[in-house]
Symmetry: C2
Subunit: 241 residues, 2 copies
DNA sequence: TTGACTTATATGCAATACGCATCTATCTAA
DNA sequence: TTAGATAGATGCGTATTGCATATAAGTCAA
């Protein structure tokens, strides 16, 4: 029996324990580009820099429950697409003490994004600038509303990069694309979402056919209103994939 | 400022901390099927049941480093494809105390799989029986060498299911398929690996064309030896994808 | 009322990817 | 020399996708 197993069986408290937090990537679209909601830090460390909303995982709280609670507390949102992203555990990622964070990705449709901003005015929507294409990966930059670069605290830039990577990878075999849209949407809006996430323009007829052939969406028969041109038909996502 | 932020800034120790462990899915192929190396538990809880090798994350050790250390300690393996899989954080997943585990996936080629068994004879290679197809997801079962069902401890069955899901998802756009093969391999062996992971037979000519067209592999000019039939050409994986 | 303008939606066509059957090549063993 | 087994190549029909282009359906201004 190894040392770890011995201690595991008889005295698990012998290991000094790290703190565990959950950080949220509250992701929506702004001006047709992916954007995350950030908070400016008041105190050391990284005072003045921008950070993902997060909080400690309580001792009697599951990871997923902690993510939901923080989503409610920090964004004032009851429900959203929420999935675990990745766990970040470098020793010095927080200079004060050992903190392991489990990052979650929350996808907010336009309305939920706006409501979060209203519920928590200190949140800043920051456009995520992704300088790489495909699923290469690499660093990302963040821009404030005036186009100014925002410096991120901790390893939160890595977390954002991981969020984009995950979204791109899952976009065409999962429902993440629909999580950023309201219940009813036009095919053009759906394509806008895909283009925003992938960062490349897509071919319109091909995109339409693909979406319709996959059987993911159903035409409602209703049409868009308030346009000054031919109104597009509204579609609905067929919930269970 | 929320309660969590206040404590975060002034007294992070105020939160009772969970223990954090790393569990490894040591995955290889056995009789052309995916298999994981398991340890039988001696003590409560789940005494007699089978578990993934794991250990506590040390306070001055990064998550990735902990995974590498445990890989060395438990499997006697220096290097292998190692990637973080998912973090499991249900409150009662360990009945004794709150333990959050970060699962890692280690892919072992045939030789490394055998060496791990030799280095740690208590490890049992268990075939993973995946009753679902594609990336549906769902529970998996494990079988010992004599075909007997193995009961798994904790939520380790969920972790295995996640490992299969991850492998299937990444198989044809990443290098995971090659991590289960030695440096030089035949196209037939590569196809065997893909079939084992996906759980379905594949079309031979189509598979060949696809692998060669992707430019992932290079013919060495050398040929397989010791066959009683036409020897296949050996290929090599072009490291950087 | 009509025509310009804008976007939605449909269609035709070429290039590509893929499943499948089949054919040829190359080794061992008897 | 031949049978048996597996490697490797080829031809073909079908589905998918990119791209250009045509048609449909609204608003709006003259």
């Amino acid at each position: 029996m190894t040392e770890a197993e011995l201690l595991n069986d008889y005295d698990p408290a012998a290991f000094e324990r790290p703190s565990v937090t959950v950080d949220l990537v509250l992701l929506g679209l702004l001006e047709g580009r992916p954007a995350a909601l950030l908070l400016q830090r008041d105190h050391h460390p990284f005072a003045g820099l921008w950070a993902l909303p997060g909080g400690f995982v309580r001792i009697d709280e599951a990871l997923d429950d902690a993510a939901e609670r923080i989503l409610r507390e920090k964004a004032g949102i009851g429900a959203a697409h929420l999935e675990q992203l990745y766990s970040f555990g470098a020793v010095k990622r927080d200079p004060r003490m050992r903190i392991i964070t489990v990052a979650y990705l929350a996808l907010l449709e336009e309305r939920a994004f706006a409501e979060a901003l209203k519920a928590t005015p200190s949140l800043l929507p920051a456009i995520i600038d992704v300088p790489w294409s495909g699923e290469t990966g690499g660093p990302v930059e963040t821009m404030g509303p005036n186009g100014e670069a925002l410096a991120l605290a901790f390893d939160h830039s890595d977390i954002l990069a991981m969020a984009i990577l995950r979204l791109r990878g899952k976009l065409d075999y999962s429902d993440v694309g629909f999580a950023l849209l309201p219940d009813r949407f036009t095919l053009r809006r759906l394509q806008d979402v895909h283009e925003a996430i992938l960062g490349v323009p897509l071919n319109k007829p091909a995109f339409r056919r693909r979406m319709l052939d996959k059987g993911w969406i159903t035409a409602t028969g209703d049409r868009q209103e308030g346009t000054s041109f031919r109104p597009a038909e509204l579609y609905r996502f067929n919930r269970p994939l």
